[in-house]
């Protein structure tokens, strides 16, 4: 067990993928000469060559579509869309091709494509560079969506994703890259993980919000509230049994999701909890999401808009206080 940063874990994952399978190649903006906009592929161009580390023009639609075609054609492309903010330019290829080709063709085509994207706010990058649209992607049948929030997941999910026959979208919260953590042995793609066991409240979260949630849990522990933190890990499909089992024990749930509250992934999870654990609930399911505002630039405003530790603590306390 060693300590690595999330960025190092992603690099190791990429390296292992490139070394172990000649069909794998990395394609995206600035992945080569620049070394990756988050330095995840620094040095790879020299190491693996321009055929396998492909800098693309600023053409998200074309290179994502090309990734789809290449995957159909027998390669295992890893397409890096610099951030989820730019993925909007490729939405047609993603929603109308990647997600549908298998079904539209009556099962003739598989699209073993992996797409990685950085996501999330918190760096004062303002409205167009701070989106958390994982919930949108989790909405679409035909693709899989994962959100590695720990170094272990960052290290191993990529390899597993590459073995999937269907498109997998990996969301890496940009704030996580410098984070250090203990590297575990393995991971899987479809189970949620209990990151902190507790008996009073189930806190369901994912990605960049995991660590804020764990911090909030510590604050709450000092106030005698024992929080169980569930890291979703997979956003589509969602591991409902793990969530429901936790709620059956605690009888209270709070969901922390960096997406905007309206129509969020948190809303979906809330519905699933209602459907599957209605009789276990002692209180309505609460949500802590980003406020309904395009992400502001000013630090204090952005902090307030994001689901920060204070809001998470407050939401849990209100939940507990209301209902004993």
């Amino acid at each position: 067990m060693s300590k690595v940063t999330y960025r190092e874990a992603v690099r190791s994952a990429l390296r292992e993928a490139l070394e172990s399978d000649p069909r794998v190649f990395l394609m995206g903006e600035d992945v080569g000469k620049y070394g990756g906009s988050y330095a995840c592929s620094k040095g790879f161009l020299d190491e693996f060559g321009p055929e396998r580390i492909r800098d693309t023009p600023l053409s998200e639609g074309a290179f994502v579509g090309a990734g789809i075609g290449a995957a159909i054609g027998g390669m295992r492309p890893i397409v890096e869309i610099m951030t989820v903010n730019f993925s909007l330019l490729a939405l047609d290829q993603i929603v109308n091709n990647a997600a549908t080709l298998r079904h539209m063709s009556g099962g003739q085509i598989s699209v073993p494509l992996v797409v990685r994207m950085a996501t999330g706010g918190g760096r004062q990058l303002a409205a167009q560079h701070s989106h958390s649209l994982e919930g949108w992607y989790a909405h679409i049948p035909g693709i899989k969506v994962v959100a590695p929030a720990t170094v272990t997941d960052a290290r191993y999910m990529l390899g597993l994703a590459l073995r999937e026959p269907d498109p997998v979208f990996i969301f890496e919260h940009a704030l996580l890259y410098p984070m250090e953590g203990q590297l575990g042995d393995a991971a899987d793609l479809e189970h949620a993980a209990i990151r902190r066991a507790g008996n009073d409240v189930t806190l369901v979260t994912y990605g960049g919000s995991l660590h804020r949630s764990l911090e909030a849990a510590e604050v709450l522990a000092s106030r005698d509230v024992d929080v169980e933190v569930v890291d979703l890990r997979s956003l589509r499909p969602i591991d409902a049994p793990t969530i429901l089992e936790s709620v059956a024990n605690t009888h209270r749930a709070v969901i922390v999701d960096e997406g905007w509250r309206t129509g969020s992934l948190a809303a979906e999870i809330s519905a699933q909890i209602m459907e599957g654990a209605f009789y276990e609930l002692d209180a309505p399911v609460a949500r802590v999401c980003s406020l309904e505002v395009p992400m502001p630039y000013a630090r204090h405003l952005e902090d307030a808009a994001l689901p920060n530790v204070e809001r998470i603590v407050s939401a849990v306390e209100q939940l507990v206080a209301q209902h004993g």
Partner: protein, 411 residues
């Protein structure tokens, strides 16, 4: 004879207006000829005929708007080439695609379905009931423990409650005592009804054997309320005080002045107890009431009492009480303020000898310095065992409670 019908040219086309016929009855038509023009929402569209022959009869005149599928004309098939005959196979009677069955196999729902309504948490008070059914049970005074559930996983529904309410003639008493409850275990249906029976027996016995007398007084709550508001401003959310804890402390201190109310019947004698262990009546899921002890209430300050009270409530509702907590109370305090009740005349929990009740805080006209002002007041009641105390003692007790609540900072 072939039919020439109003075609559907798009999913959203429902009707069309015949605006022109290019052929008259009796004229020859050939497959592919445009023989009519139809006006649609999108404009005028040429309609071709797919059979060759003689246009026998025009059925829809120019200017008429008809729905898709309407027979426009009849064509007597004649002079078809062999190819055309072959090219127009008898198109079979429309085999409709299967209709979606009323209930699609709910694959997704099956996957999600958690531990539906079975109680897995080892909680004696956890009955699978919707919040709505719970509220109804309270309103109708139905004990849900006695109601068979017909919902998913035997959950109790509103209907079940209503049915039970209609069937029962006797209302269950508002307060329920569980004098000797064993350590909480997951209830079987058996166990729940046995417990119910025990409670029923205890309550009936209490009413039968204890000669109850009742006293009531209305207390000016202004000082307490004001003090509470000020104090809470200084406290973080999790440490805020509820008004109930002031009542509890006042009762505890008042008992030091009138100790004969802090006693229990042991066998056939009264035993006045020195320590005040306040039984706090807590409503639990399932419509019942449980009254575990806040030990040594006179020795604890308000904040400590608040913390312990919170903890007690939490554990009462999640099934984490210790049996000593259930058997130790020397007196019980019940507050039905949240239920909107102004005064409560409860039944004493044997072997205790008194029960203190509080209603809701209301605003009433009050005399202050000879002026009539609106004032927050609360009604306190005492149900007491006449074998042990009399109205005089009871009255002293209630006066003490009143007096103590006028100086909340000293509680």
């Amino acid at each position: 004879m072939a039919d020439f019908v109003m075609p559907s040219l798009g999913a959203d086309m429902e009707a069309g207006t015949l605006v022109a016929w290019h052929k008259n009855a009796g004229q020859a038509v050939r497959r592919g000829d445009i023989i009519a023009e139809v006006e649609t929402d999108k404009g005028i569209i040429d309609i071709e005929v797919f059979t060759s022959g003689i246009l026998e009869q025009i059925l829809v005149p120019v200017g008429e708007k008809v729905p898709v599928g309407t027979l426009l004309a009849r064509i007597r098939e004649e002079g078809q080439t062999a190819e055309e005959k072959v090219a127009a196979p008898a198109i079979s009677v429309d085999r409709e695609p299967p209709k979606a069955p009323a209930a699609l196999p709910a694959v997704a729902a099956e996957k999600i379905a958690g531990p539906a309504a079975s109680s897995t948490s080892g909680d004696v008070t956890r009955l699978p009931m919707s919040p709505s059914a719970r509220r109804l049970a309270r309103e109708l005074g139905v004990d849900p423990h006695t109601v068979p559930g017909t919902g998913p996983g035997s959950a109790i529904t509103r209907e079940d409650i209503q049915r039970a309410a209609a069937a029962s003639t006797a209302k269950t008493p508002p307060s329920v005592s569980q004098p000797s409850v064993p350590k909480p275990q997951p209830p079987s249906a058996d166990q729940a009804s046995r417990m119910r029976a025990a409670i029923a027996a205890a309550m009936a016995r209490s009413k039968r054997e204890i000669p109850h007398y009742y006293l009531q007084t209305t207390i000016d709550f202004h000082a307490a309320e004001t003090w509470l508001a000020e104090e809470n401003l200084k406290r973080p959310m999790t440490e805020r005080l509820l008004y109930g804890v002031l009542l509890l402390k006042a009762v505890a201190l008042a008992l030091q002045e009138v100790p004969d109310l802090n006693a229990v019947w042991e066998g056939d004698r009264v035993q006045v107890k020195e320590a005040v262990h306040l039984g706090v009546a807590i409503s639990v899921r399932g419509g019942g009431l449980i009254a575990p002890a806040l030990h040594n209430a006179t020795e604890k300050n308000i904040d400590q009492l608040m913390r312990e009270f919170r903890d007690l409530v939490r554990r009462a509702r999640s099934g984490g009480l210790r049996s000593s907590e259930l058997t130790d109370p020397t007196i019980t305090v019940t507050s039905l303020g949240e239920q909107g009740v102004e005064a409560v005349y409860g039944i004493i929990y044997p072997p205790q000898v008194a029960l203190v009740g509080f209603g809701k805080i209301v605003t009433r006209p009050w005399s202050v310095n000879n002026a009539i002002v609106p004032r927050s007041v609360i009604t306190a009641t005492l149900s007491a065992d006449h074998r042990v105390s009399d109205g005089h003692r009871g009255g002293l007790f209630l006066s003490a409670v009143d007096r103590l609540l006028q100086e909340p900072d000293k509680l």
